[in-house]
Subunit: 194 residues, 2 copies
Amino acid sequence: MALRDAILVSLGDGPMSGYDLAKHFDETIGFFWRATHSQIYRELAKLKDRGLVTSEHVPQSGRPNRILYSVTDKGREALLEWSRQPAAADPVKDDFLVRLYGLEHMDMDALLEHLNQRLEGHRERLAKFSRIAAEARPRTLGELGRLRGLEIGLRYEREWAQWCEETLQALSPENIARFDTVVPLDNKKGRPKQ
Amino acid sequence: MALRDAILVSLGDGPMSGYDLAKHFDETIGFFWRATHSQIYRELAKLKDRGLVTSEHVPQSGRPNRILYSVTDKGREALLEWSRQPAAADPVKDDFLVRLYGLEHMDMDALLEHLNQRLEGHRERLAKFSRIAAEARPRTLGELGRLRGLEIGLRYEREWAQWCEETLQALSPENIARFDTVVPLDNKKGRPKQ
DNA sequence: GCGTTCATGTAACCTGTTACATGATTCT
DNA sequence: AGAATCATGTAACAGGTTACATGAACGC
């Protein structure tokens, strides 16, 4: 239930509309947690019901009115309480690794192409994060926390990029020639031992 | 839609029951993709409807009967087709990083304790993965793919463990004393600029 | 006696994605 | 002229979690 808390944390910087929050989730906090505007509007309604935020209508001319949300004391308390709950690491869950697991049943050419595309994506994000991190001069606790977040993102992208390179090597035609493409027959029938 | 394909890949090793699959998801393939038994039974029903798997009842004495599922040719074709679709990297999405982002509003003692717990978890998994990887001698393409998967898991745990250590250092009382705990007032009112 | 394993499933709920809907303004 | 931005939402669906339900066998 971290969307709720990601919203409360975001509103900690000051009142925002659902629209503002959606942009915020696309930019800064989006590296740690993502949400679409439909999700955000739904969650804001719930938060208001439970008294964790209040809303204020701001009329505008020429464009739709805004609805600004602010955290209440009850909301701040909920945040503090949440921060006392243990946070389990979410293990890797990846489409691509499932394909690798069933490599024998896959289209190898397509797989190698996707691997190259992924490598590029990781390199781009690595470059972007490095640039931001290099310029960061944290002054407040919050800024320090955000920098630490950026740091794990950097490590994450760096390792994935290196892994993609290694894997491209490991799956190159020369290396693959040394492996059987087909599973031995006695593994094909009956329940596998492991 | 990778649960479908994780099941098809798993059944590639031979017929399995829903129960077997659930265990499989808790063990081997569970590192790449997870699923509960309720999810698996639901998905198997769909797969059978679409003709991607067939089922066979196996009566047992003393315990509930088993229902063994096998991939059909249509299922194998679906897998191949799936492997041609691009696989987007799923970006980091982490509870703990949201807390770090809103560090000013958190219970710091609890946070440091959770950070220590996480460090331990990462170290344990790192040790486990290292052990398995050290013994691996891939012979088939499938085994090679699984080893590559293990390798990214290893890197992932290693980096997270190191990051936890660094972050514990960065958030130690001595280091924190140099930072303002409170955001300057002009950031507290109105919409933030970034 | 009590918990675990084996083996199937259902039901309610929460979360996340995609598409639909409206309508003025501003940029290219 | 057409696309993007501002700003709100709803609806349908897909994916994932948790709890409920049953019942025999086996180890401690």
